[in-house]
Subunit: 230 residues, 2 copies
DNA sequence: GAGGAGTGATTGTCAGATAATCTTACCGAT
DNA sequence: ATCGGTAAGATTATCTGACAATCACTCCTC
């Protein structure tokens, strides 16, 4: 009788590979042992090692190139977000929570954005250029793309990488509702964005916060037909 | 010369499996074709299918049970966070950005927390119980654990699932510096937490925000020995 | 009718082999 | 002597076939 590996073999292997990287202080690009060496050192077949490495490669933790070997992967948030986004159709997050979370992130960065605008005029001109492109467009499709880009640029303007990553993640969940948002305020949105940048450039963070919060929360009214929560 | 399969076989397979789930509108728990069936329908060997499914399983998109088959997986944010957290040792995020991001998340939820405290006394008592345990402990190790739990409970008290998930993610990045934080204010931290709950219970969000911001930012002074940025 | 043994289906793991691709070193031509 | 190409070695990519482990279900027995 064996208390056996409740955890599957490949998970253990994946864990060991990760620990190997950590204990040896490997940096992205560094080489890992070959599949055969790993298999031998772990005392398992090469196939199990492969399944583990393939899974890790899928996550971007390692990279494998034919004829070269395994290397430690570079961070690749996009890849994670892509796969996570797949779940957006499956997981039911309360739409209102998504909006509230967005409010927290975007209004939270405003003080930092205002400060960086004061020190670097390029940031303001970048945002204003986006608004000009807003006013030029007539197509709904491009308008949506610009809207996404604007809000992302806002987060980027804070210089806080983690927040930008969180924003990307949130956005993926939002895609699910994108259709229901389209009928909403259009020109209204443009002017709101413009006012926001004006207020930020003037250093009026308090009013900018109110402006942005109203802008985002205006989505609440026209988003959830109903939420089917258990 | 062939422009041919730039993308590796298993990535194509993984993509096709994901599309299969989408086009057939499968919900978590629904069964997928067997590995053999997938292999045959894709015209490849079962092993390649396996590598794809194993990778997807690693991400939590599918689940496989011996003797049963493949089923569509349920969302598992913890799993993603676990693997993402691994990158924290590799990617060098500016410690100051981590702190700023924390400030945004935790102060951002305070209005929601205050509102929920007003409606549900259980939330306040939960936080106060944590503080009591703070005062009872003498060990640094448990103190750190409690500190983590307190800040997580704060985010949870907002009822915003996405923000809690982001907080978990941030926390993983923080682990790297945990050692350097330990010498910092100890009793000081307890009292700060206590004051925070008092202010929230009184509905004074503005002062609570200031209290929390100061508390978190106090870490800045004793965190970064140096950052080796390229 | 209920419970247990058996059977089939499916995944888990292994071994071995061949193809594709990259690195490196060697060798020849200029 | 230097440059370029080619061949050999190394390593991953993929396939074939097989056997073990586990689970669901049926059927048989009591």
């Amino acid at each position: 009788m064996k208390i056996v590996p409740r955890t599957k073999m490949r998970d253990q292997v994946a864990q060991q590979i990760k620990e190997y990287i950590l204990t040896n202080q490997l940096a992205p690009g560094d080489r890992l042992p070959t599949e055969s060496q790993l298999a031998e050192s772990f005392g398992i077949s090469r196939l199990s090692v492969r399944e583990a490495t393939k899974a890790l490669e899928f996550l971007g933790i390692v990279e494998s190139k034919t004829g070269v070997g395994l290397t430690v992967g570079r961070i690749d948030m996009d890849r994670i977000v892509e796969h996570l986004g797949f779940h957006s159709g499956l997981m039911d997050v309360d739409p209102e929570q998504l909006i509230d979370s967005r409010v927290i992130l975007e209004t939270g960065v405003l003080p930092y954005v205002a400060q960086r605008i004061a020190n670097d005029p390029m940031i303001e001109s970048g945002l204003r250029e986006l608004i000009d492109r807003f006013r030029a467009t007539r197509e709904l499709k491009t308008w949506i793309a610009l809207d996404i880009e604007f809000h992302r640029s806002l987060l980027e303007a804070s210089g806080l990488q983690p927040i930008v990553a969180f924003g990307d993640l949130l956005h993926v969940f939002f895609r699910r509702f994108r259709d229901s948002v389209k009928q909403g305020g259009w020109k209204q949105g443009i002017e709101s964005h413009a006012r926001l940048v004006d207020l930020l450039a003037a250093g009026n963070v308090a009013k900018a916060t109110i402006e942005l919060r109203n802008h985002i929360e205006s989505h609440k009214e026209r988003m959830p037909p109903r939420s089917r929560r258990s």
